[in-house]
Amino acid sequence: MSKPTQLLEYSQKSEPCLIKVQLFEGPLDFLLHLIKKNEIDINDIPVAAITEQYIDYLELMKEMNLEIAGGYLVIAADLSLIKSKMLLPKPIIEENEIDPRSDLVKRLIQYQIYKDAASDLVNRHILGRDVFKREADESDPLMEEVEIGRVDLWGLIEAFRDFYKRRSYVWAEGIVYEAEHIKIEDKMQEVLEELGRRQILSLKEFLMECSSKLDLVITFLSLLELIRMQTIHIVQQLPDSSILVRYLGES
């Protein structure tokens, strides 16, 4: 059995020593590749031969110091188990005997269908690749007026998490900070006052003003509370533009 060395190919690009490895999307993808390459009937997989090739590939990955995803090892174990089951002598041949390969075959076929579904998707007229819509221009005054997309809770939390990670507060060990007393109610009032003056503000502006982690969290919580009360609205013009906080007024 030859080693799958054809999996390696040198890149055409000028970067020195850049080796392109045809990596698979996962163990099932790789198994399907082996089945196709060897022109095997998926319903009658020669498990011993395939297992050997499969393990050769894992060895190759190891040699190249590639991290082997856990899923590959799970399938390797499955293959070995099937192989050993098939080697066991069968004392009585039953009518409805289950082929030890059937579960794996079912998974492979199911996976193949989703792979086909994925290539069906990629063949569609994709926005930003094949077809285009009118693009937003930063300097476009219409930007302010155009209906803006909703921001879901996930988007908001993601923005908060990003901000939280980027903002580095200095917390020295052993220093006891005086307990801060910030109430959500007070913060909400502050937020509303600020919005009363300026109507619309970016989420970043609010979070920037926070002096500590606690302040940051309280500010965020008060924004959530105000959204719940439908006093403010969170909007975003484009999926990757900044999240804006808009005042709706007391209702």
Binding site: E25, G71, S102, Q110, Y111, G128, V131
Partner: protein, 188 residues
């Protein structure tokens, strides 16, 4: 007469909009008009722009309508505007999208059991791109998140709804014809 004006008005609104314009939205703009009239105008507009055979057409996308360029123009547009947002999704990401699109609502673990490989990074990236979203939690131990596709998914892939996608059975049949070497093992 009124009908004729309405059509032009709708057309101009869709022209200036960057997001698909929905019938509901138009109904808000024209409160004294029946939704049926709005729908009729939209159907006519789609047909008229299509019949003109221009570089762009009026497309029904998600629950709305949007002007889009025709696929044949993609190369020229990319050459003209290097800054246009390019579509970038890896093969793995597309697999995850396909699985979620067909099996939604679905947990991360269920996606991973189909793919046989960890998919958390891809799922997070797709959440960020808003192609998928968290639809809730599954009522099982650990209450994992369940994911589904978004409006943005429909927009990116030019779909009116999920019903627009070929069924898995159809996909299976097509791939059977393309690859006779992989016969099916089971039938539904």
């Amino acid at each position: 007469m009124k009908h004729f004006d309405l059509k032009k008005a709708i057309e101009s609104i869709i022209f200036i909009s960057r997001q698909p314009v929905t019938v509901d939205k138009l109904a808000q703009v024209f409160p004294n008009t029946e939704k049926t009239d709005i729908r009729n105008c939209l159907t006519e507009l789609v047909k008229e722009w299509g019949d003109l055979g221009r570089g762009f057409h009026l497309a029904r996308i998600s629950d709305g309508y949007q002007f889009r360029t025709c696929a044949e123009q993609s190369e020229h547009i990319s050459n003209f505007n290097k800054k246009v947002k390019r579509f970038r999704l890896s093969k793995a990401a597309l697999e995850v999208i396909a699985i979620i699109a067909y099996k939604q609502p679905i947990t991360r673990l269920e996606v991973e059991s189909i793919r046989g490989v960890d998919s958390s990074g891809i799922i997070n990236a797709l959440l960020e791109k808003r192609i998928i979203e968290i639809k809730g939690r599954k009522e099982v131990i650990g209450k994992p998140f369940i994911y589904g596709t978004t409006k943005e998914f429909l927009e990116v892939f030019g779909l009116i709804g999920l019903g627009d996608l070929p069924t898995l059975k159809e996909i299976e049949d097509i791939s059977k014809n393309l690859e006779p070497r992989i016969p099916t093992a089971y039938e539904d």
